[in-house]
Subunit: 332 residues, 2 copies
């Protein structure tokens, strides 16, 4: 990067005003006489002046940039959430600085620190867990944080927007139960996330206990299509007849695997996916899904963040978004 061709100083000189006035014009400050403003604007246009956002950031201590922390963007779930985030961010003139924490939690603190070094004005965190160290780093920074698409572990400190996963699990199991199924499976990727360990698994176990079910299994480390496909043998061996998955790809793998092995869906095996992405449509027979408004969740999270960054009051920092149980052909 060479020395910037045209700076605020050049504009000031050409327009015969001070830098301060140019700055006011650029920032829409009203304390400028119309004549002066027009003169400055004319010069800005003639010189093709563009403010250097880095210098603005250093001087104003605001970068109009927010950090977005995602476990994995090749996961459509996060891609769709990001779309909502991006649109609202654009609307409010914020840029998004992307960071991935991988599927493991290794180094989330490092990722957060990096974002803070870049002086982001706020952070949207989409991974479903956060290390103690990462949390501390975030709290110490005092910048606003909103958790999107997962439940807030820290209702007091961070904002959050998500569906009520626990309720979604209960409702799904209720459907299975009413359809006469008694052998339930919960298929997860990482069982140690906050969401899994504190919400899903307890809800799953509690339901089983209340209904006196004895054959209920939690399968972990199942995250891809192939994992789902390969899980089918195990499901049959364990005599499972109803499955909840969190990812549509996994559900698709299970379905295709089960069909190939001659199982009938939904008679022998019912499936509900809480993935809620567009790809659910591709699955045949049509998947019964917990439909979350992913785009809206992203949009609401970003909207909340803009308010927090702007020190506006936020009525409800922990929003529970409604979901829909869309009955397809993988449940009776």
């Amino acid at each position: 990067m060479q020395k910037q061709e045209v700076t605020i100083y050049d504009v000031a000189r050409e327009a015969k005003v001070s830098m301060a006035t140019v700055s006011r014009v650029v920032n829409g400050n009203n304390n400028v006489r119309k004549e002066t403003r027009d003169r400055v604007l004319k010069v800005i246009e003639r010189l093709h002046y563009q403010p250097n956002a880095v210098a603005q950031g250093l001087a104003s201590k605001k970068t109009t940039t927010v950090g977005l922390i995602v476990p994995d963007f090749s996961n459509l779930h996060f891609a769709e959430l990001s779309q909502g985030i991006n649109d609202i961010a654009t609307l409010y003139k914020y840029n998004i600085l992307l960071s991935s924490v991988g599927n493991t939690l290794v180094g989330d603190d490092h990722v957060i620190q990096n974002l803070l070094n870049k002086q982001v004005d706020g952070i949207i965190y989409m991974a479903d867990q956060i290390s103690e160290k990462g949390k501390e780093t975030l709290l110490r920074s005092k910048i606003p944080v909103v958790l999107a698409g997962t439940l807030s572990e820290n209702k007091e400190t961070f904002g959050s927007v998500a569906i009520d996963y626990k309720k979604a699990v209960e409702e799904s199991l209720e459907i299975f139960y009413q359809n006469g199924k008694r052998n339930f499976a919960l298929v997860l990727n990482n069982p140690e996330t906050y969401l899994s360990s504190k919400e899903l698994i307890p809800a799953f176990n509690q339901f089983a206990q209340e209904h006196k079910l004895s054959n209920n299994h939690v399968y972990s480390d199942i995250s891809t299509y192939e994992d789902g496909y390969n899980l089918v043998d195990q499901l049959r061996q364990d005599k499972i007849d109803a499955v909840i998955t969190l990812k549509d790809m996994t559900a698709g793998g299970i379905i295709n695997g089960a069909l190939e092995k001659g199982m009938t869906i939904p008679k022998q095996l019912e499936i509900i996916s809480a993935g809620s992405t567009n790809v659910a449509k591709l699955v045949n027979p049509q998947l019964t899904v917990v439909q979350q408004p992913l785009y809206d969740i992203g949009a609401m999270a970003m909207r909340m963040l803009t308010k927090l960054m702007n020190n506006e009051t936020v009525e409800d920092k922990n929003i529970k978004v409604p979901y829909l149980l869309l009955r397809g052909k993988t449940t009776l």
Copy 2:
């Protein structure tokens, strides 16, 4: 954002050295005696000093940030490309500033300008077209640009990494032809992109002409699952018996629509998708696809960009990546 708590100046004072020395230590400059370095590092740790990347950016004129321009990240194609880009970017300590140009081309120039204002060191452009104005803006900025996943419109000026789409279309049509099909369709979203208008459509038409085919159609503005689903009636009316689509979701819509209307696949209708995303697996019957190494394309593009930003020589600025025609059950 409050005044930064601990700055390079604090470290210098506490370590009894000058700011310059602290800067050297932070940046791994070797011209520091080991003793001094250790003393500084100790203070850095004690004070939890973290460099302000914005100030670094202003002073050094390098932000270690690259802009990523995407048409739509809820499109898995770009999500998978982005994964490769992100991993390599992280490896080389670059951050990614995300921008979406929407599915229309409105304002790509604006998006580019915004990224330039933020002083990105380079740009990866993934949309499949770019406006004249946007191109000029990019050229004027003199920062390196790499086009990923689409063909380069400007082989001389921008770097590029992509498969040979034209060849992929020809090869696909050849398969259809050998299977006895004679009524071909090319299903596109926007026919005016460089890729469509300069590569795909000409290749499609040329093949038809060379093989004396009279019933070949190009369908435009088909981009979603539903669009594909709804296109089926038209396809039947036009007596199409072989289809190429660019998106897996669209292909899925066509397949499900065709099956529901009682068509047999691949006997009455063959389909090849060049989407190449993971979701192709969900489709039943299994989709025949032009498999592109999306992750690798993203990774190679980012690697090239790091070289360009570093003024290293790049042997080949326009890389054609090999693809694979994976025969599924939607072709004979």
